[in-house]
Amino acid sequence: MDVFIAIVQILDSTIRLSVPLLLACLAGLYSERAGVFDIGLEGKMLVGAFAGAAAASVFHSAFLGLGMAIVMSVAFALVHGFASITHRGNQIVSGVAINFVAAGSTIILGQAWFQQGGRTPALQPGERFEAITLPGASAIHDVPIIGPIYSELLSGHSILVYLAFAMVPFTWWVLFRTRFGLRLRAVGENPAAVDTAGISVAWLRYRALICTGILTGIAGAYLSMVQNGGFVKDMTAGKGYIALAALIFAKWRPVNAMFACLLFGFLDAAAIRLQGSPLPLIGKVPVQFMQALPYVLTVILLAGFIGKAIPPRAGGVPYVKER
């Protein structure tokens, strides 16, 4: 039974750890499916985390915090659009720039406004998103097997967790069942086809980036207002890049993205759980090995050794009208 409880606990923390990855990964999916590479997921998440925690603690409202996280993250997404869509700049360079501006400005502004070494004040109840207990969770807690799964694993998460997982079918629906999704996928594959069909390539790509901004904003808010009770500098710690890896791993598909993020979240959860203790058969696995595994897997995938990850065809190339 202990093993079972341990598994439930690992899976529970898998869910918690994969949520920011999932939100950021879906964010990247919108922009890359529209043909705009975005290695600035990390920076936009960080901006969202800071703006969210700062606004929540100043206005004493979790929802205002979330709103501000989204607004600021979208603003950074628009800068990326301005550079890479309007001015046809290098999308990678622009993404790198955004990551730096985000990393620096969150610390500088945090220190200037709150004087706590780049942190925002610890969020009070009501300023952060609390866990939601699903109906009947305590009632069936003691039922074997189902009890722990329902009350530990499924119940007791914040609204943003449920939102993140709800975003998976929603994103699938948007991409594959709506007019916006059809056009968005088209512009990532062949912008000239979209242009000759009388649709503005630039405006479509801007809208995709706005979606990206909204989701990275929520991802950031989750980090600072759910997982942590406030903003800590550099709190994204490379999650934006893991999300990018997950996106490639998922071959730019929403449901795959969920599984990729759960896998990477699980590796993280297991690494924390196993710290030091040996695994049966394998023996002691260094934590760092588990941490590096998402990146190693992505490189192997990219090299075409396990399937082939084919990015949207027009990705990374600014659209220039040609004869």
Binding site: A193, A197, R323
Partner: protein, 510 residues
């Protein structure tokens, strides 16, 4: 007299210094198939892009159905009932046929109604025009002919009354092309207007009612198809440019330098571009390959020069084979005395961001003359560049100037100077004077003849018929990847034009 579907009045369009369209007037009658012919770069595509709202004319007026129309975007054109099938299909390859057809013309945000409507529309169009295609097939899994059909359906679905097709048969097999023509005739019978842009005269004669000829950005003539001949059109297309004929003596052909046997080359899409070609070039002669662009000349040049792999056949240089598997190293071929002036000097023959002197060694940068150990011998390179500048009268005469800042003619001289001064046994030249000013043309031609007189074997590929006739000792005509005829330099323009148009000898005799 049918009412005009489209009138173009005084259309002008320039790209930088290039005037792509000059004062174009054109009237297209409703319910007809109207052909527009002209050589590559004559301005046909530009004109149609203006009509489709992809470009804006600098001046001039467009009337659709008798009313002045302002076409600023493709949307405006679509709203006016103009549809276009582009030369390079504007399709999303991993979408289904249905998705491609509704893209941009979806009536509802959730697509349910759009998809239902598109399905029933497709069925109707299929019935009316025989345009069968599986609506749920993925585009990239369809053969090219069917992809093109989807493009036509896209236009019809948007209610196009006027359909423009830009070089529609370039990618089709003859059978597919015949099918396309049947469809176009059917469209005409239903009252649609079709504009067919092509450089293939046979197609024009086969299905158009009227034909307009463009040359160098101007509209030179419009004829009723029934009252003209292929010969007349060919002459109008090529025109009688005033070109000084370069004086040259009789060729004194020597031993075979380059022998091409049964060469077959495919392009990246797997389409056969060079189809079982054989010919040879002897020392001291210029062999010209005439043909309309896109008939396999580019691929032929690339295969011989080691840039593109060949599927089968052989090429012998001085009696020894060239490796055609793609492992052939252009550098090695240079060492063996094969010099190549490529067609695309902007992206292949030169690095425009380089200084002139740097481009003067491109491809020969391995030559010990230009090196001191691993280092470039700057003094030698500069002296060499200055020497070539003088010999070839390259202006401005500054070897440190960025190549992009030279004019087209001088850029071409940089390439020619580099390749000719290596004293190669075989020189192959693609489009020797494309985009080159008149003064430089004569200079380049004289140089090529001087090479011949020194006993080099020279292969010239050009879409300029005049140039081929003026330079060549023997003329080979390429059409659809094959050599369809060999003529002497005395061959007439009309005769060659017919061969270039793919007209068989019997037809030509009619």
């Amino acid at each position: 007299m049918a009412q005009a579907a489209i009138e173009l009045i005084g259309i002008n369009k320039s790209f930088g210094a290039v005037r792509a369209n000059r004062d174009i007037n054109l009237e297209i009658a409703r319910g007809t198939i109207h052909g527009i012919v002209g050589e590559n770069g004559a301005g046909k595509s530009t004109l149609m892009s203006i009509l489709y709202g992809f470009y804006q004319a600098d001046s001039g007026e467009i009337r659709v159905g008798g009313k002045p129309a302002s076409i600023k975007t493709s949307n405006d054109a679509i709203a006016l009932g103009i549809g276009m099938v582009h030369q390079h299909f504007m399709l999303v390859d991993n979408f289904t046929v249905l998705e491609n057809i509704i893209l941009g013309a979806e009536s509802d945000a959730l697509l349910k109604k759009s998809i239902a409507k598109a399905r029933s529309e497709l069925e109707r169009l299929e019935r009316e025009y025989g345009l069968e295609v599986d609506p749920d097939a993925i585009i990239e899994e369809l053969p090219v002919g069917l992809q093109q059909r989807v493009e036509i359906l896209k236009a019809l679905y948007r209610g196009a009354e006027i359909l423009i097709l830009d070089e529609p048969t370039g990618v089709l097999t003859p059978a597919e092309a015949d099918h396309l023509f049947r469809i176009l005739k059917q469209l005409k019978e239903q009252g649609k207007t079709v504009v067919l842009i092509t450089h293939k005269l046979r197609e024009i004669m086969a299905i158009t009612d009227n034909v307009s000829v463009m040359r160098q950005g101007t509209m030179v003539a419009t004829r009723e198809t029934a009252k003209t001949t292929v010969g007349e059109l060919a002459e109008l297309m090529v025109g009688r440019r005033v070109l000084l004929r370069v004086e040259k003596g009789e060729a004194e052909a020597g031993a075979v330098k380059l022998a091409v046997k049964n060469l077959t080359v495919k392009d990246s899409r797997g389409v056969t571009m060079v189809d079982d070609i054989s010919f040879d070039i002897k020392a001291g002669e210029i062999v010209g390959i005439a043909g309309v662009a896109g008939n396999g000349q580019s691929e032929l040049l690339e295969a011989i020069s080691g840039i593109r792999r060949a599927v089968s056949g052989s090429v012998m240089l001085d009696g020894k084979p060239i490796d055609l598997t793609g492992a052939a190293d252009p550098g090695e071929l240079r060492d063996r005395g094969l010099a190549h002036v490529p067609e695309d000097r902007h992206h292949v023959g030169l690095v425009l961001a380089f200084e002139e002197n740097e481009n003067s060694i491109l491809g020969y940068h391995d030559d010990p003359r230009y090196l001191k150990g691993p280092f470039l011998n700057i003094d030698a390179i500069m002296a060499d560049a200055k020497d070539k500048i003088e010999k070839y009268d390259i202006r401005p005469g500054n070897p440190r100037l960025k190549t992009a800042n030279f004019s087209g003619g001088n850029q071409q001289k940089i390439v020619l100077a580099r390749e000719m001064e290596q004293d190669p046994g075989v020189l192959i030249v693609g489009q020797p004077t494309r985009g080159v000013d008149v003064g430089a043309i004569e200079f380049i031609h004289k140089r090529l003849i001087a090479m011949r007189d020194q006993g080099k074997a020279v292969l010239v590929v050009s879409v300029e018929l005049d140039e081929i006739r003026s330079l060549s000792d023997r003329i080979l005509v390429m059409f659809a990847g094959r050599i369809v005829g060999e003529r002497g330099p005395e061959a007439t323009e009309g005769e060659l034009g017919l061969l270039m148009a793919g007209v068989e000898r019997q037809e030509a005799a009619e």
